[in-house]
Amino acid sequence: MNADVITTASEAADLPRRSRSRFRPSPWHLVLIPITFVLLVPLLWMLATSLETEAETHRFPPVLVPRSLQWHNYADAWRAAPFGSFLLNSLIVSVLTVISTLVLCSLAGYAFARVRFAGRGLLFIVLMASLMVPFQVTMIPEFLIVKWLGLHVWTQLGIDHLGALIVPNLVTAFGIFFLRQFFLTIPIELEEAARIDGTSRLGVLIKIVLPLSLPALATLAVLTFLDSWNSFLWPLIVVNSEPHMTLPLGLTTFQGSHNTQWSLLMAANVVSLLPMLVVFFAAQRYFVRSVAGTGLKG
């Protein structure tokens, strides 16, 4: 059968007659277009501002469509600071964070979902507790820890190095919790069947559960990337030299105490969004899974 995903019975009834749906555009567009527009408003506003002159950005009521497109804002913003370096640093930090998050959270999330072990419940609550104290309070002790690590373990983990941006974020209870919930929706019979065949726990995770969890993994990857990419306060505290700055820090180049250069800031923001759009788009095909592949017949 085809792999369309449907959520209403009426649509299910429609489906076999594919030729008809090809000529008639779905009525869902009428719903989706306004929703999309509302959701996209800030992005459109950012784009518009990035193409205005600085004077236009100060106009009130705000200008929605710039008089002439100031494409040079992008070149100017790029040249205002070493954005190439900022981009590269952000990429390194975010990619490593995503990889480690996926690996470590899969392991832990699976254990919490399917493996009964002593202290499981308590450990889960304890790990969740790490999410419950605001960063403003924990940033100083985290700074001290990272400093200690830099001095006594490996310099690259210390203050003013990329390691300090990566290591505290290698795994979060958020990711563990997220994957636990998703792993719990995988039919346990599939795992049982593999265990009967003698597969180890790790094998079950890697060969059965993970392939069925691609939407969840892709989602976690995207969310982790996003969080890492936009992270501002921790890098601000930890980075002391320009070569180690990430993109959000680079954006402060345009934000003075009294004045902000809006057009350049928005141009830089748009550029900063592009890698995330690429990640979203690439992850798209993993977001949707063919339900037919779960082997649930009968």
């Binding site: 019975a9 009426s10 719903v31 950012m46 959270c105 507790a129 002790p141 795994v171 979060t172 039919p187």
Partner: protein
């Protein structure tokens, strides 16, 4: 619900002793899987929390190295602090509004996006993109939308004869504007989570329901919602934790004003630590928040885990 139960009943395990083996305890494997994460979270997440707990029993200004022990003095002061009480109240109201609103909007949009029509990738990307837009842009746009003299919202209200509101300048309305702003900002997140969860809903259930004559909304209610419950539990808990720690949007728009109308706990404690140079007091406020979050999350878990539809 009947369709789900029907299918479950039809799935008998191959051999019950296998079930016991799979579901028996496996302490070694369990701890083996969990240890790397636990160690890292222990160092970077829990140690700082412990340090902050110690700090809450001290008087610290972050300036001088001397931090005398003051026992529970900070906590006692919190009990009488009117602004802190206001902040707590606002945080609770905010959370109670924000969490359900975001989940409801999210599930509807996710269902709408979960279909194979032309251009669906673009629509989906648009939903995700809202998450990528940083809070400062979100703040600017909402401040503009709700601007009392020129904002779009007041203009639209004017067309239907409602007088212009002060919104963020009105102590009675400001918090609700922030609710709207953050619901909007987090919708993408809820959509992404629900969309992933929707992939796990088997088509057979809808087919069976259709055979039974269930319409679109009925199957939404009896099939989609229950099967989304693990994701809903996740969202309810995570959104609550985030809502209780609201800071950025308040900092970027109202700074807790006007007249503390939008002061929430984390904004209040940040102000205490970095504007009033009273870090011990801020840590105490953070601890009260921490305990409250822990209790709320635990309760959500206990209730939710029992009713969530897992494949056990």
């Amino acid at each position: 619900m009947a369709a789900v139960r029907e299918l479950e009943r039809n799935r008998q395990p191959a051999a019950s002793r296998v079930r016991v083996r799979l579901r028996g305890s496996d302490h070694l494997a369990g701890w083996g899987f969990v240890t790397p994460a636990a160690v890292l979270i222990g160092i970077f997440g829990l140690l700082p929390i412990g340090w902050s707990l110690l700090l809450s029993f001290q008087q610290s200004d972050l300036l001088t190295p001397s931090t005398p022990w003051v026992g529970t003095a900070n906590y006692r002061r919190l009990m009488h602090d009117h602004t802190f009480a206001l902040s707590v109240q606002h945080t609770i109201v905010y959370t109670a509004l924000f969490v359900p609103a975001t989940m409801i909007v999210g599930v509807f949009i996710a269902v709408a996006l979960n279909r194979k029509i032309r251009g669906i990738s673009l629509y989906r990307t648009a939903a995700y993109v809202t998450m990528a837009v940083s809070t400062i842009n979100e703040a600017i746009i909402f401040m503009w939308l709700f601007e009392p003299s020129f904002g779009v919202v007041n203009r639209a209200l004017g067309w239907v004869g409602i007088p212009a509101q002060q919104w963020l300048s009105n102590p009675d309305q400001a918090l609700y504007v922030i609710v709207a702003m953050t619901v909007w900002g987090w919708t993408g997140f809820a959509v992404v989570v629900y969309l992933a969860a929707l992939q796990g809903v088997p088509q057979e259930l809808y087919d069976a329901a259709a055979i039974d004559g269930a319409g679109g909304f009925a199957s939404f209610r009896t099939i989609t919602i229950p099967l989304l419950s693990p994701a809903s539990l996740f969202l309810a808990i995570w959104l609550s934790i985030s809502a209780l720690q609201l800071f950025d949007e308040v900092y970027l728009t109202t700074r807790g004003g006007p007249l503390h109308a939008t002061s929430v706990v984390v904004y209040y404690l940040w102000d205490q630590a970095f504007n009033q140079f009273d870090a011990g007091y801020a840590a105490a406020a953070a601890y009260v928040l921490f305990m409250a979050t822990l209790v709320i999350t635990y309760l959500q878990f206990r209730l939710g885990d029992r009713y969530a539809h897992y494949r056990r």
